[in-house]
């Protein structure tokens, strides 16, 4: 199985195998062609292939007639805000987000700072595949790579979005694990601006990832130890490019990545009821929390572009995904772990309650996830088969993104991964046993 995925979330692969400089150059040319020139901002995370991919992207964009601004290593949401602030035509994030170090990827951002929506992404892919790119002649080609900083502007925007005075007054002690990723350039600075005492680990952007950059309880052992030893009020774990957030309570207990959005909802909705946007695979905890606070939930297919688009469409107050990504439209309608940090710290400061007290109010549901690796050419026929089976057994399916159906007290979602050649099975129920049964049911039918 070749580790390459070209889809609506961009292009992603393993460096040294499928993610080649030619591929990156080609996609950059396609994006420059799609935007018809203009200023493009380029950011990257800290993986060691970043400079290679960056150079390929800059070369491709320049050849297509774009002016390029290199933001260096910074979180993707910093770049997204900078695109809007600079009035640029778009941006490219060189990051494979939560994927391991050997991966890299390109993600494409449009002038409003949001990811290309599926229709736009399809168009970009068509241009890439057609291979006829805009070519700047010698008198048009950009002569230099501009450099700019996006982190200071990001912090400025964040400071305007939260009650910084209240947070400073509390002198919170915050532990943070940046996974030596792009957040190392943002989060410690942001926390210092909020008057926090910062206990940072893995905050060296030149060092390799110390663990998987996916903020899940199993990668938060070091952070838990820091929280406990330093008696911190809270611990935050970040992915490589500043989209996903994992939380450790003041007791040193890691919360599931599924709890990040639910906790944000539990904090925000009492003050600001409204619509919450999330994807079909995210825990039903958010539905229960929303119902509690007179709010509604809108579900989209999996992928940040869908979330952002639905937030804008519905005027939602909150968005996010079970992966730990939280979008706060009052900052910008896209995943931003620094904004989620601001929201949580603001709540701690204003309410005086602890993280564990807030988390204790979240519904207790059990989620079981299982990935079934399949040949790329079989993904969709297998999903069709699962749908047929479900309907045969009288289960009504939601086909927005793969197959999803609800059972008494639970649900099962089977979908094609956006990033790897696999089908993701996710089930949730009040009891773990029931959730596991649902996953087993689907797995058996996929394997048959």
């Amino acid at each position: 199985m070749r580790p390459l995925k070209i889809g609506i979330t961009g292009v992603r692969g393993v460096v040294g195998e499928t993610f080649t400089p030619e591929l990156a150059v080609g996609f950059a040319q396609a994006f420059g062609t799609y935007l018809d020139g203009g200023r493009i901002l380029v950011s990257r995370d800290t993986r060691p292939s970043g400079p290679m991919a960056r150079a390929a992207v800059l070369g491709g964009l320049m050849a297509a007639g774009c002016e390029v601004v290199d933001l260096g290593v910074c979180p993707t949401p910093s770049m997204q805000l900078a695109v809007v602030r600079a009035g640029a035509e778009g941006g490219i994030a060189v990051t494979a987000g939560h994927n391991p170090s050997q991966w890299n990827a390109l993600k494409f951002v449009r002038a409003d700072g949001l990811y290309l929506n599926p229709a736009q992404a399809e168009e970009l892919l068509d241009i890439f595949h057609q291979g006829e790119f805009a070519k700047a002649t010698w008198d048009r080609v950009a002569r230099r790579v501009e450099e700019a900083d996006a982190v200071a502007g990001h912090i400025e925007t964040l400071l305007k979005s939260f009650d910084a005075e209240a947070i400073r007054a509390r002198r919170l002690k915050v532990a943070v694990d940046c996974c030596n990723g792009a957040c190392a350039r943002l989060i410690p600075r942001w926390l210092e601006q909020l008057g926090c005492e910062v206990l940072a680990v893995n905050d060296d952007p030149t060092a390799p990832f110390p663990h998987s950059p996916e903020p899940k309880p199993e990668t938060m052992a070091q952070l838990r130890a820091v929280v406990k030893a330093g008696r911190a009020d809270v611990g935050f774990a970040h992915d490589a490019d500043g989209e996903r957030l994992g939380i450790v309570t003041e007791e040193g207990t890691p919360l599931s990545e599924e709890a990040t959005l639910a906790l944000a909802a539990e904090i925000l909705l009492p003050r600001r009821p409204g619509t919450v946007v999330t994807n079909l695979s995210t825990s039903g905890a958010v539905d229960i929390v929303a119902a509690r606070h007179n709010s509604t939930v809108v579900r989209t297919p999996v992928g940040q572009a869908y979330i952002s688009e639905a937030i804008v469409e519905t005027g939602a107050v909150l968005g996010g995904e079970g992966s730990g990504g939280v979008s706060l439209p009052r900052v910008h309608p896209t995943h931003d772990s620094a904004a989620a940090v601001g929201l949580i710290l603001e709540h701690l400061a204003l309410s005086g309650e602890t993280v564990s007290a807030a988390a204790a109010r979240l519904p207790r549901l059990s989620m079981v996830k299982h990935n079934v690796k399949v040949e790329p050419n079989q993904i969709y026929s297998l999903l069709q088969r699962l749908r047929a089976q479900a309907e045969q057994e009288g289960r009504v399916s939601d086909l927005t993104d793969g197959v999803k159906f609800e059972t008494a007290g639970g649900w099962l979602h089977a979908r094609a991964s956006n990033t790897e050649s696999m089908i993701r099975l996710i089930a949730e129920a009040p009891e773990e046993r029931s959730a596991r049964d649902l996953v087993d049911w689907a797995r058996d039918r996929l394997k048959r």
């Binding site: 393993v14 460096v15 040294g16 195998e17 080649t20 400089p21 030619e22 990156a24 150059v25 080609g26 040319q29 993986r47 060691p48 292939s49 400079p51 290679m52 991919a53 150079a55 390929a56 800059l58 070369g59 491709g60 320049m62 050849a63 170090s101 050997q102 991966w103 890299n104 070519k135 700047a136 002649t137 010698w138 008198d139 048009r140 080609v141 950009a142 002569r143 230099r144 790579v145 390799p208």
Partner: protein
Amino acid sequence: MRAIPTLKISISGVRGVVGDSLTPTLLVRFAQAFGTYVGSGTVVIGRDTRTSGEMVKQTVVAGLLSAGCRVVDVGVCPVPTVQVLVRHVGAQGGICITASHNPAEWNALKFIGPDGLFLGPGPARELLDIYHQGEYTKVSGAEMRTVEELEGATDVHVRAILDALGPLPARERKLRVVLDSCNGAGSVVTPRLLEALGAEVFTVNTTPDGLFPRPAEPLPENLGELCAAVREHGADLGLAQDMDADRLAVVDEAGRPVGEDYTLVLAALYVLGREPGPVVANLSTSSALAAAAARFGCELTLSKIGEANVTEEMRRVGAVVGGEGNGGVIYPRINFGRDSLVGAALVLHLLAESGQTVSEILATLPPSFVVKEKLACPSDKIKVALRMVEREYAGYPSDRRDGVKVLLPDGWFLVRGSNTEPIIRVVAEGPTEARAREIVEQVFARVRVAVTS
């Protein structure tokens, strides 16, 4: 006639028009191929001032990093500086991003081996094989190395020249020199070198913006601005570089271009006066060089056209100086490649030590004029035309190593097909300009017959 392709992939490298044939994909692949060829070693890269230089550089960096190379980026600098730096840092190779004298819309990659020389025909063919086979070394992220931007690369070059030649001898009045760098790579270092030597320096076209203020070749007809500046400043001489600063032309104290084939003659006069030894030039070199060599009892060997052929012959005979009639001076003690900075230092030293003017020095040599012309000729007719010229001049001694060179009683001519365009080039020398032009016309008459037959 169908359009002539602008892409040229050859043993000299890859060259094309930006926004047309020189695509980033092509550039990335060539860089990957070179990275593979040098075994993922250290590669020095530098570029001239062309507007497309930065774009090309980024693609080259991506390809080299992907192939596992460590990249040392010396920024905008002359081609010979890259050659010096390859040896200075002990790199496995170098890539120059320059289309030398081609117009602004062109760019190219030229490949340098670990010895600081451009790849010879053999290694260049190996590189092309790797490129065409398309299977390049691809390292994982963990094995990927870095790009280092090397500040002060040009200082290394300047120091090497000063170490070898020293400053100009003290004079009552400093030598006054006007420099025209064509807004090319020479702009960033040549004024500093000339001042360090002890000259008083005036400049025209030394803004390194890649906008060509004149055609890049330092031919007499392109040097009007420089000639005027020499007269205006009452300078002792004018120096003109091409875009990547490997070639040099001289303007005399009266503001007259002396012809780029005299650059090597002047340089050789200085070198041979201090360290007599073998001299090498190509077949298309002024007989004035032979006279200069003879003055010091030194032997002149003529090689096939092409820098690689000249350097190879220089190595074989242990030459103390060599080069080409296009203004390319090679002085192996500093740099085994055409180097306009070295050329400039040698010419200034000659003037300072002799106390003579440029025209006084040239007056000591027998008069000779070199004329270069080209004529369109379909590629398939080139051979026929050369054979016809050869038959016509069968009564004279000739040299057929590279095209046809015929030695006439009062001069010579060399006629050859271009490697890159469907044209025939003729170089002729005679005792007067009129005679040289007459020889060219006679040859062209033969070629025209062949083309229309």
